[in-house]
């Protein structure tokens, strides 16, 4: 009996660590079919004894805090009722858990619990607010304002609105990534229904002057939506101080579960939205569909933890970020930090290494999980549109890397990353003919690359 248990547990453990068995056999058979040829392209998944890379990509997603998982598990195992079931204890306990989570989220941003709508993530919240507000007030107001550095979901929603007949202005940003308040004021027209500007940018970490924008929009009677997915839980957020009407929050950016988010919708003065999802009228009719209790509970717990740990995390992240930037900039020349150096969230650092190609640097830094640009644009070869919007040179935009520092980052990880980065940049520059030319004193910009 004991022997069977041991082999069973060993098999379970082996299948859980690393590649699962069916996939391994598929990869092997694929290799075997290529007769005699060496396997030139290694399998993208980690081998069993290969060490895991360090995680330095906290803007893409964050690991779940153990306290969040602990709050979620009872609702995954035992308290599995539908929160909208009104007739039995399973429903009641589930509903009270969801309401408790709603209060936790509301407390973090300084809102009333009745103003929080649970969604499937910040993308859905962004879609809901832009499409919902624009369509509801379509009769009288036809203009939407946003910026060029917004998240893809906001830009894509605005594009759809354009196709529906709305007028959309994409505000340019200054070289430091911030928007010009004067320009915004001039762009607001009497028929503007919504202004959408994100609080903290996910690629360059720049923090927009949300309070000023909020006051401006309120004075002109325009609704103000902000995508605060990267800001909530990391910097102090207060929707009443900032005069924000709509705010999108994402669960998996604040050490919560993936697949849940929230939309803050102001009640006084009331913001009316045309719902995206129709159905049983859950979430005040704004978002029908069963609220996923375990995810909502996890999200609430993550918000509560974020509120308690905000100051501690912020101090730590600032120290680590300064350490990383100082060390890199002191060792290698020609490194540019994209975005305003002061008006930023310190945990998102976007550095451009001149004369080094970004993708090759990422490949070389295979022991560190980094990204150049955002996760949603990392599949295409084009440099990030955010960097283009802040006016970075084409070659600098190609060679940018985003370092993300979060709650769980340690000093050792930062030191390791810095060391590897310096080593690889030096090595790649040695190989670069452009670098040679620069060392000889030739001005790259004066070279005529084509000859006729």
């Amino acid at each position: 009996m004991n022997m069977m248990n041991r082999t069973l547990s060993r098999k379970l453990l082996r299948s859980m660590c690393g590649i699962s068995n069916p996939r391994l056999s598929f990869a092997q058979s694929a290799v075997n079919t290529v007769q005699g040829q060496k396997e030139l392209i290694k399998s993208r998944e980690l081998e069993k004894d290969e060490l895991r890379p360090l995680y330095m990509d906290f803007q893409a997603t964050t690991p779940m805090d153990p306290r969040v998982l602990d709050a979620m598990l009872p609702f995954q195992v035992n308290y599995y009722g539908n929160p909208h079931s009104r007739t039995h204890a399973y429903g009641w306990e589930s509903e009270s858990a969801v309401e408790k989570a709603r209060k936790q989220v509301a407390d973090l941003i300084g809102a009333d619990p009745r103003e929080i709508v649970f969604t499937s993530g910040a993308t859905e919240s962004n879609n809901m607010s832009i499409k919902g507000v624009a369509r509801f007030y379509k009769a009288k107001k036809n203009h939407i304002i946003t910026t060029q550095t917004e998240h893809k979901c906001v830009l894509d929603s605005c594009r759809i609105m354009e196709a529906e007949g709305f007028d959309v202005t994409y505000l340019p940003v200054k070289n430091n990534g911030l928007i010009d308040l004067k320009q915004l004021e001039e762009t607001i027209r009497p028929d503007t229904s919504l202004v959408s500007i994100m609080t903290v940018n996910n690629e360059i970490g720049v923090k927009q002057p949300i309070k000023e924008i909020g006051h401006l929009c309120r004075s002109k009677n325009v609704f103000f939506h902000t995508d605060a997915a990267q800001a909530v839980g990391k910097i102090p957020v207060n929707v009443n101080d900032w005069k924000v009407d709509l705010m999108s929050i994402s669960g998996h950016k604040i050490y919560g579960p993936k697949g849940v988010g929230a939309l803050y919708v102001k009640r006084r003065p009331r913001v009316r939205i045309e719902p995206l999802l129709n159905g049983g009228g859950q979430e005040r009719g704004l978002r029908s569909g069963t609220v996923p209790t375990p995810l909502a509970v996890g999200f609430g717990a993550a918000c509560e933890i974020a509120q308690q740990e905000l100051e501690y995390d912020y101090k730590r992240v600032t120290v680590l970020a300064n350490r990383l930037v100082q060390k890199i900039m002191s060792e290698i020349p020609d490194v540019v930090m994209n975005g305003d150096p002061d008006q930023r969230y310190p945990g998102c650092i976007n550095l451009s290494f001149a004369y080094v190609e970004g993708e090759s640097l990422l490949m070389a830094l295979k022991d560190v999980a980094l990204s150049s640009g955002s996760a949603c644009t990392s599949a295409s070869l084009e440099p990030s549109y955010v960097l283009r919007a802040i006016g970075a040179d084409e070659d600098l935009a190609h060679s940018s890397i985003r370092f993300g520092i979060g709650r769980f980052t340690t000093e050792e990880e930062v030191d390791f990353t810095v060391e590897k980065c310096i080593q690889q940049v030096k090595r790649l520059r040695e190989m670069s003919p452009l670098w040679e030319m620069v060392q000889e004193g030739i001005d790259i910009k004066s070279i005529k690359w084509t000859q006729h």
Binding site: L13, M16, C17, G18, L46, K48, D49, E50, L51, R52, P53, L54, Y55, P63, P66, R67, L69, D70, Y312, D367, R407, F408, T409, T410, E412, E413, F416
Partner: protein, 91 residues
């Protein structure tokens, strides 16, 4: 009463650190150790017995939480990170 309470706090502290060391995940382990140390250091000078009781209750809850999460982490263990290998080598 004060002496035994101090002993109590210290033993809780030692227990928390002992349990935190068992986390299989590098990030969780280092975070738990660091956070426990900093939390106890920060609240070193708290005098009010009600506050102390509240903090101790939170510490006991955290201890149970850490024990549960260590268990779960061990069930779903995966490879070590690159930084740990260097730690082991230097040890």
């Amino acid at each position: 009463m004060a002496a035994s309470s101090r002993e109590h706090v210290l033993s809780l502290y030692r227990l928390l650190l002992k349990e935190s060391k068992k986390f299989p995940s590098y990030n969780y382990r280092t975070y738990a150790l660091r956070r426990v140390r900093d939390a106890f250091r920060e609240n070193r000078t708290v005098e009010d017995p009600k506050d102390v009781e509240e903090l101790l209750r939170r510490a006991r809850d955290s201890l149970a939480l850490i024990q549960r999460q260590v268990c779960i982490g061990k069930m779903f263990e995966t490879q070590k990170t690159v930084v740990e290998q260097e730690e082991q080598k230097s040890d």
